[in-house]
Symmetry: C2
Subunit: 106 residues, 2 copies
């Protein structure tokens, strides 16, 4: 942990989907594009097998609140509950430490 | 957010792998099995596409430290750096809020 480490925030979104997810992928792309333009957005990672995990990183908790209330994002959340997700869980976290490994290729 | 919400901790492990990951899957299973027996372990979710994301949840930050130092886990971390991962990032986070959606099937 660097002495200069500045805490930031993570939203861990874990989900399982319905069988029919028509329209999901277009919406996911649109929402990712919008998130990246949003104030305080830092980074986003996604992967899905049996369960889907999307983690987005934000400068402050206020940035997360504003993003949660963004109008097109609200619409997507509503559509997600009605059409795409059988279950989801959202966790708001403070990132307190971080370390990274990058392989030196010979 | 429930008024009774008790914070806990998350380890977000994000990674990219080498092409040859011989032995990885056996080790991943073994390590998951060991983690679940470890003091303070709560839950774990994993998914991998271009990037792999594994999030494990723990009662306290001390539980995470002890798990990081567990001997077979140390061995796996070492093998991961040498053989399997081209890059990884570990974030230690405090989970401050959580909410869940479960679809009511008609």
């Amino acid at each position: 942990m660097k002495q200069t480490f500045k805490p930031y925030y993570a939203v861990i979104f874990t989900s399982t989907q319905n069988e029919n997810i028509e329209g999901y992928s277009e919406m996911a792309n649109k929402i990712e594009h919008l998130a990246k333009q949003q104030k305080g957005f830092l980074e986003m990672d996604s992967a899905r097998n049996e369960v889907g995990i999307t983690v987005s990183y934000w400068e402050t908790i206020e940035d997360i609140k504003l993003w949660k209330q963004q109008s097109e994002h609200l619409e997507a959340q509503q559509k997600g509950r009605v059409d795409w997700y059988s279950w989801y869980n959202v966790r708001i976290c403070k990132v307190e430490r971080e370390y990274e490994f990058l392989k030196n290729e010979l």
